[in-house]
């Protein structure tokens, strides 16, 4: 494909949110203040599974300054929320399913009074058997967390003839891999403010999906969608942890009951205790290949614990199943997956939706296979790599936008340049990934509104929440490119349900692709009117016009031109308005219920990481020294932002591989705070070499794909494989804590 000639994209712009954040002017939810504002808090269960025998808030209500205490009986609308399945109560009615379930909410004049009131509330439980593991959950006679069975979801994918293929294989490797429950540790704990004005409840919240929140609040309050306004305020990260409802419904209930603005700011502990976690997963895999290294068959059985509520669990299981053979051509595949409900902390979306977990499995298998075949790990992957025309296990045929092999080649080239010759206990490992952009086999549209104003500045309105990842910057660049204006001409309003159209979630690496396409379509519509006006004025066919760098000119004769301000004056003269509305829904199909055949995603992103580590065999410490990571992003909208995503992703991968684990006992998280849940610090960050590979297709805006989650994924198995290669030992469980590494070394 010819290189695109772009005026705005592919360079680096100052992020739209940079100035306000650097000067401290940006207002996070916790910074908001309104007159007569109350503070809110939640009384939560301390047991994992129980019914409530008695709840008494009379002492709290007697405390001067306490405005109200609400329980499930005070909910005017429905009392079930959830992103996919509505299985979580806003306030407990039937029973408690986890430590941290919301039993009652309180509003009071000060935060201190809220805390005092919470201490004065009394509860007595009738305890039920807690279900705390997959095995517990699957026992015939065990207590049930929801309904009749603890099996939350079971999925099966099958293509080809797996058994026959294994019978023909020269080499078979097997392994059972375990990854742990992890916490996002986004820097800003969940917070929000709700207030009522002119019959509309407005919730200002730290969130990744204002439009979803609107629906949940409206249902809880029994109100039409247009009587609820959710405004996403400056948000300090999310990584998937702010897709679920946090404070929104509770705030609306309290504001409604008191008629006053109410604010809630979770403590770090409360935030970690109740926000969704990464699913712990166990994956038993079998991979077969011919003696020259061609993979013939993959079989995987995986189990996952979604905890007390489904959250994004259904999306995680489906995506994990579709991705678990890795970015390879595998003619015969069989995958079975079981996710269960337990009384453990709720698991949901976390950067990658299950793909980070399965990458540990498929890349662990590839490392073992390379060893068994005595093959170079990059050559083995290139031999089996997905490429244009590959038929996936779902039956989908890949188009030309498949840059996987390029990521392998670019990473290898860089490795020759920057990696050291390995000493004893040093090792190099390769990790790869693929990632379907957008939701799996489901419609997931987004829309945008645009208006070019009389002075050629632009208002762009997108539903897409910018939580720091830079979507507003991306949308502005795409709009500027399409309209032929400059990046600074575009003002973006995002994620305000009274102003912007639906954007869907800032998740699944989907916004650059989906909201980006919606933005481009909206701009094209506005451009139609602009082009017609310019064509009339210049007396050339409108098809010949080029919009670029604030000019409109004829492709045949660039001297035939007018400036954007001149064009806007012409528009005014003829009474024309340059407005556009665009919506985009990726071209996917629902997946077959029996075999999961279908088109789960319109496009796929690819990535390869090569890691260099050194292990201190006396202490078990793993020193991650260098990470090279090459990513096919289709088209970099903003190079620096892509590099930033890759660097941040690599650091998170390091945390996943060597530090992080949520420890929980009887459903209770033991390390919900930063001093006990260690994430890498700046001092731990290795040398990172981000590489941008651009293999654009026609699907994304100017060919762009997503990179938010792909940036994390291949780093995890690359580090694990590097440690395996350094020590000549296999590791099947993450994280590689010094204590665990020592156990392995000492045997």
């Amino acid at each position: 494909m010819a290189l695109r000639d772009l005026a705005v994209l592919g360079k680096a712009n100052v992020k739209k949110d940079a100035y306000n954040k650097i000067t401290g002017e940006a207002k996070f939810a916790a910074d908001l203040k309104f007159d007569h504002m109350l503070y809110g808090g939640v009384f939560r269960s301390t047991v994992p599974h129980a019914t409530i025998k008695r709840f008494d808030a009379s002492k709290a209500l007697a405390l001067p300054g306490v405005a109200c205490v609400l329980t499930s009986k005070d909910i005017p609308g429905g009392n079930r929320i959830g992103i996919i399945l509505k299985d979580e109560p806003v306030l407990v009615d039937d029973k408690i399913r986890r430590v941290g379930d919301a039993i009652a909410i309180v509003a009071a004049e000060t935060q201190e009074l809220v805390e005092e009131a919470l201490e004065l509330m009394e509860v007595e439980y009738d305890l039920l058997e807690p279900i705390l593991s997959y095995e517990d959950a699957m026992r015939e006679d065990s207590a049930k967390v929801h309904g009749e069975t603890n099996l939350h979801m079971r999925k099966h994918l099958e293509s080809g003839d797996v058994d026959a293929a294994f019978a023909q294989c020269d080499v078979i490797v097997e392994g059972t891999y375990t990854t742990n429950m992890l916490s996002h540790m986004f820097i800003e704990p969940d917070a929000g403010v709700a207030r009522i004005e002119d019959g509309v409840i407005t919730v200002y919240a730290s969130t990744q999906n204002a439009h979803f929140d609107r629906g949940e609040v409206a249902r809880t309050m029994g109100l039409p969608n247009n009587k609820v306004r959710v405004v996403q305020v400056t948000t300090g990260g999310g990584f998937g942890g702010k897709l679920d409802i946090s404070v929104q419904c509770h705030l609306a209930l309290l504001a409604n009951a008191t008629g006053r603005p109410v604010k809630m700011v979770r403590s770090r502990k409360e935030s970690t205790d109740v926000s969704a976690k990464r699913h712990p997963m166990t994956m038993k895999a079998k991979t077969g290949a011919t003696k020259d290294g061609k993979i013939q068959a993959v079989e995987v059985f995986m189990t996952g614990d979604t905890g007390a509520y489904a959250s994004y669990g259904p999306a995680v299981i489906v995506r994990a199943v579709v991705h678990c053979m890795g970015p390879y051509e595998v003619p015969n595949v069989r995958v079975d997956a079981d996710f269960v409900y337990t009384n453990n902390p709720m698991c949901g979306a976390f950067r990658g939706f299950g793909v980070p977990q399965v990458s540990v499995c498929h890349e662990g298998q590839m490392n073992a296979l390379a060893k068994a075949l005595n093959m170079d790990p990059i050559d083995l992957r290139i031999l089996n790599a997905q490429r244009p025309g590959t038929v996936l296990a779902t039956g989908q045929v890949l188009d030309e936008a498949v840059g996987f092999i390029e990521t392998l080649q670019e990473a290898k080239k860089k490795a020759a340049e920057v990696l050291d010759t390995c000493k004893e206990n040093q090792g190099v490992g390769v990790g790869c990934m693929w990632y379907g952009v957008g939701n799996t086999g489901l419609p997931n549209p987004a829309a945008a509104f645009v208006e070019v104003l009389p002075d050629a500045s632009v208002n762009l309105m997108v539903g897409c929440a910018d939580i720091g990842q830079g979507s507003s910057t991306v949308m502005a660049a795409i709009a500027a490119e399409e309209l032929g204006l400059s990046y600074d001409d575009i003002h973006v309003t995002s994620a305000d349900t009274m102003v912007t159209p639906e954007g869907g979630a800032s998740s699944a690496s989907r916004q650059t692709f989906i909201s980006g396409n919606a933005t481009r379509i909206a701009c094209k519509q506005a451009k139609e009117t602009l082009a017609q006006t310019a064509a009339n004025f210049l007396n050339v066919p409108k098809e010949d016009l080029i919009f670029r760098n604030r000019m409109v000119y004829s492709s045949k004769d660039p001297a035939i031109k007018l400036t954007y301000p001149e064009l806007m004056a012409e528009m005014k003269k003829w009474g024309k308005l340059a407005v556009g509305a665009g919506a985009y829904n990726p071209k996917t199909t629902y997946l077959d219920a029996k075999t999961m055949a279908g088109i789960p995603y319109e496009i796929y992103a690819y990535g390869t990481t090569i890691a260099q580590v050194e292990v201190d065999t006396s202490t078990g410490e793993v020193d991650v020294q260098k990470l090279i990571s090459a990513h096919d992003v289709g088209q970099a909208v903003d190079r620096e932002m892509v590099e930033g995503q890759i660097e941040g992703g690599m650091v998170m991968a390091q945390g996943f591989a060597v530090f992080e684990k949520i420890e929980h006992e009887k459903g209770k998280i033991k390390n919900p705070i930063f001093s006990k849940y260690l994430i890498p610090t700046a001092m731990d960050v290795p040398e990172i070499y981000p590489i941008i590979v651009e293999c654009p297709g026609e699907a994304g805006p100017f060919g762009a794909k997503g990179v938010g989650e792909p940036a994390l994924i291949p780093g995890i198995p690359a580090i694990t494989n590097a440690v395996e290669n350094a020590l000549g030992q296999r590791f099947f469980e993450l994280p590689l804590m010094p204590t665990e590494v020592m156990k392995k070394i000492r045997g």
Partner: protein, 296 residues
């Protein structure tokens, strides 16, 4: 003097020793001293600790500072450190870097820059964590403490400060006023810390050593470990073993094995007893080698 009410306690900040004495004589019980607050403020908020009177020592400005007294006839030189000196001041002090390297080396690995700006040496010692990062260096530097209470002052060797995790032998109305390091010119000292993370991490084990050689043989040696028992400990058997021997890696490794034998670490969330026992010899050997490398 500033007075305020906090959650469940009365806060005060005496500006002189007289004021401090008056407060302590009047208060019946429940007094706690506040220095940088990096331990205490957290513990008061989470409810792990509570008190009736919070006495902020930061009004006593003379408690801050690092000064050297030069050697005189019959008296060794010393470095005196006020107990409210910040960890960051220890980290950047040229005098300490030159004459007591283990201490600034530990200081620069404590918490983060923000924590080090507030945290104090006295607070790190009085908090009595078995892995307090400044404890092992002070043990190998033969530090002694000047304690003060309304009834007078007294001096103790630093190793007599701690009873067990979180508990000192300080009287209820007693504070650490000053930390004194006797100088020993021919000595090499070092500190090392073992923990999964490179910053902002409490050590699983930390270790300090001090070495002097005479005619190629070890004429003075101190080894101290944090995380090896209920309080920071000197490894006296390992020291005795090394005394008079040549300073070789082999001897240091043997000393490490002895150090593990005289340790009784516990299992905690951070690491098992077994892991600590396995790494004590490693860290002991390495810190001795590092101290040796500082002998020029």
């Amino acid at each position: 003097m500033i007075e305020q009410r906090g959650k469940g306690y009365e806060y005060c900040r005496p500006g002189s020793w007289e004021e401090l004495a008056a407060i302590l004589c009047k208060a019946e019980a429940g007094v706690m001293f506040l220095a940088g607050g990096t331990d205490l403020a957290v513990d008061l908020r989470t409810g792990k600790k509570s008190c009736a009177h919070l006495v902020d020592l930061k009004g006593l400005t003379e408690l801050q500072g690092i000064a050297e007294t030069a050697a005189e006839e019959g008296k060794k030189g010393e470095i005196c450190i006020g107990s409210l000196t910040s960890i960051h001041q220890l980290e950047i002090n040229p005098l300490l870097q030159e004459k007591a390297a283990a201490l600034p080396e530990a200081a620069c690995q404590l918490g983060s820059r923000q924590v080090r700006n507030r945290a104090t040496l006295g607070g790190n010692l009085a908090n009595a964590s078995p892995t307090a990062d400044t404890a092992a260096p002070l043990l190998v530097l033969d530090a002694f403490l000047e304690l003060w209470s309304p009834s007078g002052s007294r001096h103790i060797p630093v190793e007599d400060l701690w009873q067990k995790a979180g508990k000192t032998f300080l009287a209820a109305d007693e504070i650490i006023r000053q930390i004194t390091l006797p100088l020993a010119p021919g000595r090499g000292t070092a500190f090392m810390k073992l923990g999964p993370r490179q910053a902002m991490d409490i050590a699983i084990i930390n270790a300090a050593a001090s070495l002097e050689l005479e005619d190629g043989r070890i004429s003075q040696v101190r080894i101290a470990l944090g995380g090896a028992g209920e309080r920071p400990l000197r490894m006296k058997q390992a020291e005795a073993f090394l005394l008079g021997k040549e300073a070789t890696a082999e001897h240091f490794a043997q000393a490490g094995v002895l150090a593990a034998q005289e340790s009784s670490p516990r299992s905690s969330r951070r690491a098992s007893r077994e892991y600590r026992l396995a790494t004590i010899p490693v860290l002991t050997e390495r810190v001795l080698l590092k101290a040796l490398s500082r002998l020029s």
